[in-house]
C-alpha cells in the first residue's frame, strides 16, 4: 500500500473518532454553530481526500453525509435524533469501508445505494425515494473534487480496468480506481488541512521514542560521570556549565518519558457515542459523566483497557440503567447516570465505573449459577451475597433476560476480567439492588510516572510512591513522637491514635539498627487502613518511571518495581499495598468491614454492645453481644472428645467446643464458661476463661489484627480490648464439624 493511502487511513480514522464525539455533543446542543462547523469541516475533509485519492464509494457516502450536515448548518433541516443516527450510520459505513480498504489495499466493491438513499431522504424529505442515485457528481455538489476525479479517472482509466467493473458500481460514474494519484494539488484538501486543528500535534513512531529514551539514559550516565570528575577537580571551572547540562538532561528525560504517556480520555472517546446510540435504541435516558480523563497511562496499557471499558459501559447502559418509566416508578431521577472516573492512587491507576441503575439481582444470579452448573445448592447457601454476585465474572454468564444488540450474549464480564488481568490488573465489583453497580479496575502502574519519596534504611535507598504517604513523622529522643512496643509490635501514638508500625528493616530482613538516631515514620494509607513504615532517613521526592522487576525477582509483594534515579543509581520501589497486606492490614480492614456489616454494627457514632471476656492471656477480648446466642457454664468433666476434638452434650446434641487460643489448657474439673453461637440450627461453643462484662461503646478499631481470628484492637469502656472475629472461628469449624450441608437433623 502506498504511503499516501496509509497516511489517509490513519488521518481519516482519527477524524472519524472526533466526529463521533462531536456529533453526540452536537445532538445535545444543536444550536452550537462551532460544533457543527467542526463536524462539517471533518466530513468535508474526508470527502475531499477520498476524491483526491480516487475512492469513489467513500467519497459518495461522505458527500451524502456532508450534504445533510450542510443543511443542518444552513438551518434548512432540523437536527433530529433520527437524522443524527443516519449521519452516525454513515460514519460507521465509512469506517467499515476504510477497514476493508486497509486490509485489501483497494476500495472494496459493492453498492451503497440504500444507505445513500436514506441519507438523501433526510436531506430532502420531499422526495424520499431510497433508490434514488446519489448526486455524487452533480454540480450542486463539490465540482472541484468531482472534476478532478473525473480527470484523474480519465487519465488512468485505461491502466487498471480490472479493479472496478462498471457493473459493480452502478451509482458511481467512475469505471476504475486509480491506484496512485498524480501529485496534483487539490485546492479543497489543502485548504481543509490548513484549517484543521491538527497542526498542534504530530505522529511519532513509538520506536523513535523508545530509542530516544535509551539515548537519554546514556546521556544521564555520562553527565554523572562528568559530575564525578568535576568533583575531584580543584579548579571548578566546569561547575556552572555542568550544572546547566545537568538541568537540561533532567528536563529532557522528563519530556521524553511523558511522550509515551497518553491521557486515558483517548480510550474514552468512543464511549459517549456508544451510550448515545444505546439511548436511542432503548429509549432510556442516560448521562455519561467523565472525570479524570487526563489521567495519564502508558499507551500500551491504554490499548489493552480500551475494549474492556467499552464493554463495561455498554453493560451499565444496557443492563444497569432502567428505563425512564421504571426509574420514575422507583423514585429516581428519570435520567440515569454512568460515572466514569480515572485516578492515580497508591501507585496504581484506578478506573471506576459506577451506575445508579437497578443493581445486580443476587437471586437471579444465584438461580443462573445453579442452572448453569457453576455451583451446587450447598455451595451457594454458604456464600455471601457479594460472593454470589462475583459469578458474573464467570465464562458464559449473562443475566440479561433478553439479548439485545449490544449485550446479553453471554460473553462479557469474563472477557473483561481476563483482559484486565492480562495487564496485571484486578477488577472488583460491588452492587446494591436498586442503587446501582460499581466496578473498580486497578491497573498496576507499570511505566506510569509517579512521584516518589526516596528513603533510606540500613544504608540502602528505596522509593515509596508519594501518593500513599499522607504524613511524615520524626520519631526519637529529640522529637515529641516516640516509638513504643506492645509485645514486640511497634506502635506510634499519633494524635491520640495508635498507629501500627512496620519497620522496613524488619520487613526486608536487613541489618539491625545501630545507635539511637531518630527514625522516620511514613504514615501510609492503603485503602481504608493506615499504618507507619519506619525508615532511617528521608531524602527527597523524585519523579520516577516505574519499570517492572526482572522475572527472577517477581513474586515479592513488597516491590512495585524498580527505577533508575536521576543520579543513575538503581533503586527498588516499595509497594505499600503489598506491605500493608503483609502486615495484616488489608485483610484486617476488610474483615473489620465485613464484621461491622454482619454484626449489624453501624457507621461511626453508633454504639455497639460487646461481650467482654478473657480467653488465653491477660488481654480483654470482645465479641458483639448480639452474635452470642447464650452464655453457658458446664462442668469441665462433662467435656468429651470425639475424633480428638472436644465436644459437650448440649440440649441433646453434641456441641463442638473451640478454643480461641490453639494451646488452650483444657480443664479437667471445675466450671468451664462457654459462649454458645448459633448457626443454621447448630450450636458451637467457644471456651473462655471468664466472662468479664457487657459494655456498650462507640467501637472503632485502633489497631489492626496481628493474627488470624482477630479483627483488631479497640478501646472499649476505657480498656484496650481485642475484637475477636467470631465469623472466623464459626465458619472455619462449622464445615469441618457439620459438613457443607445443613439439611440433616437438628
Amino acid at each position: 500500500m502506498d504511503d499516501l493511502l496509509n497516511e489517509f487511513l490513519t488521518e481519516t480514522n482519527e477524524s472519524l473518532g472526533t466526529l463521533d464525539v462531536e456529533l453526540v455533543r452536537f445532538e445535545r446542543e444543536p444550536s452550537d454553530a462551532t460544533i457543527l462547523g467542526n463536524i462539517f469541516r471533518l466530513m468535508h475533509t474526508i470527502k475531499g481526500t477520498c476524491g483526491f485519492l480516487g475512492l469513489p464509494r467513500l467519497e459518495a457516502i461522505a458527500h451524502a453525509g456532508e450534504n445533510v450536515l450542510g443543511k443542518f448548518r444552513d438551518g434548512e433541516l432540523p437536527v433530529t435524533p433520527d437524522a443524527v443516527t443516519i449521519i452516525l450510520r454513515c460514519i460507521d459505513h465509512i469506517r467499515r469501508l476504510l477497514a476493508e480498504l486497509e486490509a485489501a489495499g483497494k476500495e472494496p466493491e459493492g453498492h451503497d445505494g440504500a444507505l445513500i438513499g436514506q441519507i438523501n431522504a433526510i436531506a430532502e424529505p420531499r422526495k424520499s425515494d431510497p433508490a434514488e442515485p446519489p448526486p455524487v457528481f452533480d454540480d450542486a455538489g463539490f465540482p472541484v473534487a468531482a472534476e478532478l476525479l473525473a480527470e484523474v479517472a480519465h487519465a488512468l482509466s485505461g491502466s487498471v480496468p480490472e479493479l472496478y467493473s462498471p457493473a459493480a458500481a452502478p451509482e458511481i460514474a467512475l469505471p476504475a480506481e486509480p491506484p496512485r494519484p498524480q501529485p496534483i494539488k487539490d485546492p479543497p484538501v489543502a485548504e481543509a488541512k490548513e484549517s484543521a486543528l491538527a497542526a498542534s500535534s504530530i505522529r511519532v513512531n513509538v520506536d523513535v521514542i523508545e530509542n530516544l529514551m535509551t539515548l537519554i539514559s546514556e546521556l544521564v550516565l555520562t553527565r554523572n560521570q562528568l559530575m564525578q570528575l568535576e568533583r575531584s577537580q580543584k579548579s571548578g571551572e566546569f561547575k556552572i556549565p555542568l550544572q546547566r547540562l545537568s538541568h537540561i538532561t533532567s528536563e529532557l528525560q522528563d519530556g521524553v518519558t511523558r511522550m509515551r504517556m497518553q491521557p486515558i480520555g483517548n480510550a474514552w472517546a468512543k464511549l459517549p457515542r456508544i451510550v448515545r446510540d444505546l439511548c436511542v435504541e432503548s429509549g432510556k435516558k442516560i448521562e455519561l459523566v467523565q472525570r479524570g480523563a487526563d489521567t495519564e497511562l502508558d499507551r500500551q496499557v491504554l490499548e489493552m483497557i480500551k475494549d474492556p471499558l467499552t464493554h463495561m459501559i455498554r453493560n451499565s447502559a444496557d443492563h444497569g440503567i432502567e428505563s425512564a418509566a421504571d426509574r420514575l416508578a422507583a423514585g429516581k431521577p428519570e435520567t440515569g447516570t454512568i460515572a466514569l472516573e480515572a485516578y492515580h492512587e497508591g501507585g496504581h491507576i484506578f478506573i471506576r465505573i459506577a451506575d445508579d441503575g437497578r443493581g445486580l439481582d443476587a437471586e437471579r444470579i444465584r438461580r443462573k449459577a445453579l442452572a448453569n452448573g457453576l455451583a451446587s445448592e450447598g455451595e451457594l447457601a454458604g456464600m455471601s451475597e457479594q460472593q454470589i454476585l462475583q459469578f458474573v465474572f464467570r465464562a458464559g454468564f449473562s443475566t440479561a433476560e433478553k439479548v439485545t444488540s449490544v449485550s446479553g450474549r453471554g460473553v462479557g464480564m469474563d472477557v473483561v476480567r481476563t483482559n484486565v488481568e492480562r495487564i496485571g490488573g484486578t477488577i472488583e465489583m460491588t452492587s446494591e439492588a436498586g442503587h446501582g453497580t460499581t466496578f473498580l479496575i486497578k491497573i498496576p502502574l507499570t511505566l506510569a510516572i509517579v512521584s516518589a519519596l526516596i528513603v533510606e534504611t540500613a544504608g540502602q535507598r528505596f522509593a515509596v510512591p508519594q501518593i500513599n504517604v499522607i504524613e511524615l513523622v520524626r520519631a526519637g529522643a529529640r522529637s515529641g513522637a516516640r516509638i513504643e512496643t506492645i509485645k514486640n509490635a511497634p506502635v506510634l501514638r499519633l494524635r491520640d491514635r495508635l498507629l501500627p508500625l512496620v519497620p522496613l528493616r524488619t520487613l526486608l530482613e536487613m541489618a539491625p539498627r545501630q545507635g539511637k538516631n531518630d527514625e522516620f515514620v511514613l504514615v501510609t494509607q492503603v485503602g481504608a487502613s493506615t499504618f507507619g513504615i519506619v525508615v532511617d532517613r528521608v531524602f527527597d521526592t523524585e519523579e520516577i518511571v516505574v519499570k517492572p522487576v526482572a522475572p527472577i525477582l517477581r513474586g515479592n509483594p513488597f516491590y512495585a518495581g524498580n527505577t533508575i534515579l536521576g543520579d543513575g543509581s538503581v533503586i527498588m520501589i516499595l509497594d505499600p499495598n503489598g506491605i500493608s497486606a503483609a502486615a495484616g492490614q488489608g485483610k484486617a480492614a476488610m474483615a473489620a468491614a465485613a464484621a461491622a456489616q454482619s454484626a449489624g454494627a453501624q457507621r461511626e457514632g453508633a454504639r455497639t454492645s460487646l461481650l467482654l471476656f478473657r480467653a488465653g492471656g491477660a488481654s480483654l477480648k470482645a465479641v458483639p453481644l448480639d452474635s452470642v446466642a447464650r452464655i453457658e457454664e458446664v462442668d469441665a468433666r462433662t467435656i468429651e472428645r470425639v475424633g480428638g476434638r472436644p465436644v459437650v452434650q448440649y440440649r441433646e446434641h453434641l456441641m463442638p467446643l473451640i478454643a480461641i487460643d490453639s494451646d488452650h489448657p483444657w480443664k479437667d474439673s471445675g466450671k468451664q464458661p462457654i459462649l454458645v453461637f448459633d448457626k443454621a440450627g447448630r450450636a458451637l461453643g467457644i471456651v473462655v476463661d471468664e466472662v468479664v462484662d457487657i459494655a456498650s461503646d462507640h467501637v472503632s478499631i485502633e489497631l489492626t489484627a496481628s493474627r488470624e481470628g482477630l479483627l483488631g484492637s479497640a478501646i472499649v469502656a476505657g480498656r484496650a480490648t481485642d475484637l475477636v472475629d467470631i465469623e472466623h472461628y464459626v465458619e472455619r469449624n462449622f464445615s469441618t464439624w457439620f459438613g457443607a450441608t445443613t439439611g440433616e437433623a437438628a
Partner: protein
Amino acid sequence: MAEAGKTRTDEDQAAYVTFTVADHYFGVPVMRVQDILTPDAIARVPLGPPDVRGLINLRGRIVTVIDMRTRLALDAAPDDASSTRRCVTVESDGEFYTLLVDGVGDVVNLNERDRERGPATLDPTWRELVDGVFRAGDTLLVTLDVERLLNIRGKA
C-alpha cells in the same frame, strides 16, 4: 539449545568468552554475551533470591546481577571489591542479566571434537549448568549453559 548461541568460525569451532570464578575457568558462547563491564554501584534487593546480587544500571537499562559464586555454590569472594571483578552481560527472553565473575579472560576458539561431557561425579548444581568440559592447555575449561544458568525462578 546448547548449540544455538555459538558462532562457528569453521565446521566445528566455537568461540567462548572465558572467565574465572574462585579459580575455576569457565566459558560462555560469545554470541550470548552482550557486554562486559566493571561492576559499579550494585543496588541490593532485600529478600531477593540468594543468587541475585542486586541490580545495576547498564546504560539506562536495569540489569539483574547474578553472583556466580553463589550460583555455582562456591565460597564467597574474599575480596568483594577486587578490581578484577567483571560483569558478563547476557540476554534471555528480552531481559538482561549480568554474571558477576572474578575476572574475564580471552575469547577462545574451541573445537567441538574436544568437548567432553561433565563427569558423572560432578556436583549436582554444576551438572545442571555445565554444557561441556574442554581441555585448555594445562587447565580445564568448563562451558556453561546460559539459559539454565538464568533459570533461578524456582528459587525466588
